[in-house]
């Protein structure tokens, strides 16, 4: 055989390749993955596309129920108009709508200042109000204004903010905390666990006792302490959640490492003269990744729930930012009068967790060596 012929090589099918094929064959996992992807895209892109800002307040539309029809409704125009006129201290005359535009006549006993149009602009129902056709004595004015139409798919909250946009923004926060804190926990946990298990002996003993001590700290107490000392902020959330969740990961990886360490291929590497860092990097860590990936998909929902729990207690993100936990907490307070405030965020949270768990289960089946 010539050297050049020898260098052409057949592409092998790795264990990851096999696992991928098995994963894509699992319908629940694929549906979960697609759903999660859509959720991520919606949460990232959605708030930019939404016509409402997440902190924009519509004073006229406080706690309106979810609907496909735009506001203002027919009755509401009259109401808004009267409210605006009385705020401007003018008397409302006759008014009519002409292809989506408002033409209203107002009068007053004194000459009217044209700047009263801003009272109309300030309402949620009208925009681009302009004065025209002022009577010679100045006591009568015709105002022309566009009608501002708003759709609130998920309704609005207690102060009149669009729930749809807020749910998506909250999803951004929840998902990014979930993914980032999950990732941080995995990186720390894998390195710590693999090192501890591989080195063994006294070092292992000390490292695992540290883990045990951290385990025994009450989590909520720990978070409250952090908040008391450093005040509430987003980064602190990562730290608090990540600092607790890597412990499980470290234990799992350590267990894996202990069993891998006795495998013959590790002994073989040792007999080849590979140093400890090389064995850890090339042989131990890649072989622990299967369970790690599975655990991570199950860790992310855990982090999201933890964050929601902290936010529910009021230790999490602050207004006007929001997370699913915060929204649910607010929704729970209004469950009698405005149940949509609870229903929509909870639906988003639970379905996302469902999707993540499906993916986790699928991965576990796909990576299980016994099924091979």
């Amino acid at each position: 055989m010539t050297e050049t012929a020898a260098l052409a090589a057949i592409k092998g099918r790795s264990l990851w390749g096999d696992a991928w094929a098995r994963l894509t064959g699992n319908r629940a996992a694929v549906v979960g993955a697609v759903y999660l992807l859509l959720m991520i895209v919606a949460c990232v892109v959605g708030p930019w596309l939404s016509p409402h800002g997440f902190s924009t307040i519509y004073r006229d539309y406080v706690r309106v129920p979810p609907s496909l029809e735009p506001y203002p409704r027919s009755g509401m125009i009259a109401q808004s108009l009267e409210a605006a006129a009385s705020r401007a201290r003018v008397e409302l005359g006759e008014w009519r709508l002409e292809d989506g535009r408002l033409i209203a006549h107002v009068r007053s006993s004194r000459p009217i200042d044209e700047r009263i149009t801003r009272y109309f602009d300030r309402t949620s129902a009208f925009e681009n109000a302009a004065a025209e056709g002022k009577s010679p004595d100045g006591t009568e004015l015709t105002i022309r204004a566009d009608i501002e139409r708003h759709r609130f798919l998920f309704g609005t909250d207690n102060v009149g903010r669009d729930l749809f946009t807020r749910t998506l923004i909250a999803g951004r926060v929840s998902l990014s905390i979930g993914l980032l804190a999950g990732f941080v926990a995995v990186v720390i946990g894998v390195l710590y666990g693999a090192t501890s298990g591989f080195l063994g002996g006294r070092i292992d003993e000390i490292m695992m006792r540290i883990v045990d001590i951290l385990y025994s700290l009450p989590f909520i107490f720990f978070v409250i302490m952090l908040v008391v000392f450093f005040g509430r902020n987003f980064v602190l959330m990562f730290l608090a959640v990540g600092a607790v969740l890597w412990l499980d990961m470290a234990r799992i990886v350590r267990g894996q490492t202990l069993s891998l360490k006795r495998q013959e291929f590790v002994q073989a590497a040792d007999a080849l003269g590979v140093n400890q860092a090389g064995i850890l990097r090339r042989h131990i860590i890649p072989n622990t990744l299967g369970p790690v990936v599975v655990y991570m998909t199950l860790l992310v929902p855990q982090v999201i729930i933890l964050e929601s729990f902290l936010s529910f207690l009021g230790l999490g993100v602050q207004e006007p930012m929001s997370s699913w936990g915060v929204l649910i907490s607010q929704g729970a307070k209004n469950i009698g009068t405005a149940n949509w405030l609870l229903i929509f965020p909870s639906f988003f949270l639970t379905t996302t967790l469902f999707a993540l768990n499906f993916i986790g289960d699928g991965l576990r089946d796909a990576l299980d060596p016994k099924d091979r």
Partner: protein, 536 residues
């Protein structure tokens, strides 16, 4: 004695598995009959479908498998029964024992509990009656001190004893048919001979049919009435044992019969330098000695063993599991802490620590027994083979490393084009070749071969033995060959050491050991291995 009425009739059985690569036909159109009192051996290499055929009739196929055809037990087609109906037959009328005695017993229950449960379930008797029946069974399978063993947990038993318990469980309901799937493969030769004698005896006494699945023709010759040879899922030949052994019809049967490691190794030239020398090697483990544990006990896994290995020489180390042969080899490679003096090419390396040993590792290589466990599953064959270069010749470019890996693979007769494949895509024999390539790529002086052929089929074994001898000649290697398989040792070694309980009981030139063994233990080993007889 072969009876007249067949208890099991398999006709046109097909077994297929749906896998990621499409359907795989494991068994194709197999037909077989077993009468009561008859022993039928199903012989074939691993992957020939011999186990799957039996799993199919027992309804034990993996989830992605399906069986078609007829498998009738006394006229009832087993393949058409519901799981419930099948449970009345399997475990009671047809029972099975498996290869791995270590994992077939539930570690959480005592031997007694595990025996009593199926008796109570199938015979509807009280637990006390079942208990006395279980005791009888343990006596029947010749477990010493049966009363005490009833209360033992599986971990307290040796492999041979566990296999005896498995047999007791299998015969507790007086089955018509016993299917034994490689029941002796995982056992030492002397114990293997005992288990075979036991099975033979039980079958005569109970008059059941016995289906014996194995890849070892030595066993077949000893116990089978009829032989059925399988290759690639097909039954290629069937006949009485005498006929098959005297006048095999199919070329594959002939190949199987000839698949005994053959030839002898030419001795190394006189006056070759000593490469590896061990003096009074002793390896001890201490057990216990914790705060609340019983006092510390010293266990000598290797006790006062000396050996010297010359260039080009092969020393065979023989012994049963637990005799300390692998421990000795690891101590010589300084993979385990030990006492005594180890000299490598004249240098005393006894005091070297792991770090100091690392540069020497390229000269001292090891090939392990288990071709499935010794290759990292997430690296490609090429990466595995070239890992040693990464450590010992870090200056090599990756293309040069790749070229060297390809050459090493070609040397062990693996197509270098397949070096980007992963270990699970290779067969057992191919994996063992890859492990050998990994050892020789560094051009070592000494290679320890720790049971390199034990997990392989006879035919593959023969090829590996030939390959190892060839490599030894081209590279002037010295081998430390550890095995419990005396036929392979005879074909490989110049010098044989027989170990028992950490000590060398006898050593000498290979021919001398095989022709006139002195020590009774050596004689027993040889008798068990070469003729399958038990000698007391």
């Amino acid at each position: 004695m072969p009876g007249s009425s067949p208890i099991l009739q398999i006709r046109g059985l097909n077994v297929r598995f749906r896998t990621l690569d499409g359907a795989v036909e494991a068994v194709k159109d197999a037909s077989l009959e077993v009468s009561s009192g008859e022993t039928v051996a199903v012989v074939g290499e691993s992957g020939s479908g011999k186990s799957q055929m039996m799993m199919a009739i027992m309804g034990l196929l993996a989830r992605n498998g399906e069986a078609k055809g007829v498998a009738a037990y006394r006229g009832v087609d087993l393949l058409k029964l519901s799981a419930r109906q099948l449970n009345d037959i399997r475990g009671r009328k047809i029972t099975m024992i498996f290869q791995e005695p270590m994992t077939s017993l539930d570690p959480l229950y005592t031997i007694g509990d595990q025996l009593i449960e199926p008796i109570v379930r199938h015979q509807q008797v009280s637990a006390a009656t079942a208990g006395s029946r279980a005791l009888e069974l343990l006596d029947l399978v010749r477990i010493a001190d049966a009363k005490r063993r009833m209360r033992s947990y599986p971990y307290e038993l040796s492999g041979g004893q566990r296999q005896r318990v498995m047999i007791a469980m299998a015969i507790c309901n007086n089955p018509d048919l016993l299917i034994a799937d490689e029941p002796t493969t995982a056992l030492d030769v002397t114990i293997q001979a005992e288990i075979l004698a036991l099975l033979e005896d039980l079958q005569k006494r109970l008059g059941m049919g016995l289906v014996f699945i194995t890849h070892d023709l030595g066993i077949v010759r000893r116990i089978a009435d009829r032989v059925c040879v399988m290759q690639l899922g097909r039954i290629v030949e069937q006949g009485t044992a005498d006929r098959i052994f005297e006048a095999p019809g199919h070329p594959y049967t002939k190949a199987l019969l000839e698949a005994e490691p053959e030839g002898r190794k030419p001795p190394p030239p006189k006056g070759s330098p000593t490469v590896l020398e061990g003096r009074r090697i002793r390896v001890s483990f201490s057990i216990g000695g914790g705060l609340l544990a019983p006092p510390r006990v010293e266990l000598h896994a290797v006790n006062d063993v000396s050996l010297s290995l010359q260039r080009g020489q092969t020393i065979g180390i023989v012994g049963e599991s637990g005799s300390g042969k692998s421990t000795l080899a690891r101590a010589l490679l300084k993979l385990l802490p030990s006492e005594g003096i180890v000299r490598f090419t004249g240098r005393d390396v006894s005091r070297f620590d792991q770090k100091a040993m690392r540069p020497l590792r390229r000269e001292l290589q090891i090939v392990f027994q288990d071709p499935f466990g010794s290759l990292s599953p997430r690296l490609t064959a090429g990466q595995i083979v070239s890992e040693g270069l990464l450590v010992h010749e870090p200056s090599l470019s990756s293309t040069e490393r790749d070229r060297r890996a390809a050459r090493a693979l070609a040397e062990v007769q693996i197509d270098p084009a397949s070096r980007n494949r992963y270990p699970h895509e290779f067969s057992g024999g191919q994996r063992q070749r890859i492990a050998i390539a990994r050892a020789i790529i560094l051009k070592p002086k000494v290679v320890v071969l720790d049971e390199p052929t034990s997990a392989l089929d006879r035919q593959v074994q023969k090829q590996i033995v030939a390959l190892l001898r060839e490599l030894q000649e081209t590279h002037d290697l010295s081998y430390l060959f550890i095995s419990h398989d005396l036929k392979v040792v005879r074909a490989m070694a110049d010098h044989v050491m027989v170990m028992k309980d950490g000590k060398v009981v006898e050593e000498g030139a290979t021919e001398r050991i095989f022709e006139e063994p002195h020590h009774p233990y050596t004689r027993r080993l040889l008798a068990a291995a070469l003729t399958g007889e038990t000698v007391n």
